[in-house]
């Protein structure tokens, strides 16, 4: 089972065409999971970044002055919550009379 401990989802907002091009290059990097693709200047891009690539990606973004924020801090935490919610829902589901 794949786990996503420490994986972050970054929301990146490109400010100009140069940053757009850089983000398009990032799309081609292995293990980058693009949740919301590169569209245009000022439009958010969401990328899931594996934990082991976080520092290099953040340095890359900072070096090019690309604005970004963390949309999901730790993906696995949310997935665990989702799993618990589903299990809880299944437990409480009553069979039809």
């Amino acid at each position: 089972k794949d786990t996503f401990v420490g994986d972050k989802v970054l929301r990146i907002i490109p400010k100009n065409e140069a940053q757009l091009s850089l983000l398009k290059e990032m799309e081609e990097m292995p293990e980058m999971d693009i949740w919301r693709g590169v569209t245009g200047v000022g439009i958010p891009v969401d990328i899931r970044v594996p934990f082991h690539q976080l520092s290099s990606v953040k340095i890359h973004l900072q070096e090019h002055d690309i604005e970004h924020s963390t949309m999901i801090e730790d993906l696995q935490v949310l997935l665990d919550e989702e799993q618990q919610e589903m299990e809880s829902s299944a437990r409480f589901a009553q069979p039809r009379n």
Partner: protein, 338 residues
Amino acid sequence: TDSFDYANYHTLDEVGTQFGNAPRLKPLSQTQIYRFQDMLVAENPSLVSKIVIGQSYQGRALNVLKVSKAPILRPIVFSLFSTGGTNRPAIWIDTGIHSREWVTQASGTWFAKKIVTDYGRDPALTAILDKMDIFLEIVTNPDGFYYTHNSNRMWRKTRKPTPGSSCVGVDPNRNWDAGFGEPGASSSPCSETYRGPTAHSETEVKSIVDFVKAHGNIKAFLSIHSYSQMLLYPYGYTSSPAKDQADLHNLAKKAVSELASLYGTYYTYGSVINTIYQASGITIDWTYKQGIKYSYTFELRDTGRYGFILPANQILPTARETWLALMAIMNHTFQNPY
């Protein structure tokens, strides 16, 4: 189906929630969402029937619910040779071709119930169904859907191995014969947007292709994804405007306005290439090429910034607001025959 919990996510197989390799299932095995579909058919025998348009790579049924007031024969096992004669004009809706988009399959389940509930009550839907059929494929990529529940929540592709590569699966929204292989898809099997070796190489895609061609009278094709809050029309592979661009654009504007009227959810709209990115081999470019004028793809809501793990409490609002946009497109299709 009244007691089905529409406000929560459901697996394909509630029993099989152990992690591990997906078994090769027997065709037509009865699992959670499949069971819902059978129940809906059983409860509405004069309105809903189930068509099996094919099997996934791992042997799961590719079920399509047919909602029709025309006389039906049940059980119907679809074959290319069973659709003799002229079919009624129809609307196609598919949900969840990218398996990890769980809010999409959940919305599709709600749509199915909404259609049978509103028939005879909502004059607009009733008028549509008195003249047209609706086809609804709720789990368009069942192997991927199973895999998201059991092995990798973020999986979006099919599960067919690629010979000579350790990477598995094809992006089923890059596998259609419309600009196939052009920029906007990857030739690398390890990419999330791998287009596959040839157009229609994936049975999940080919089964729809065969069905659409054999039917021959589908007038609107709505392929539903999540999450970017967009309503998109052809083309994805070229920046040339579609012949019907003005009409498609005006209808998209109306549909997103209807959608926003419920909760204020903001959608952008336009052609795929201009609104999101260049994408080749996509579903709606192929359907448009087949002459289906009202070909649209939705990207459902992102409220809460959770992406593909949209909390379950977002399912019903998402489905309800999307339904308004679907009705706008279906009604326009009904009132503007071509």
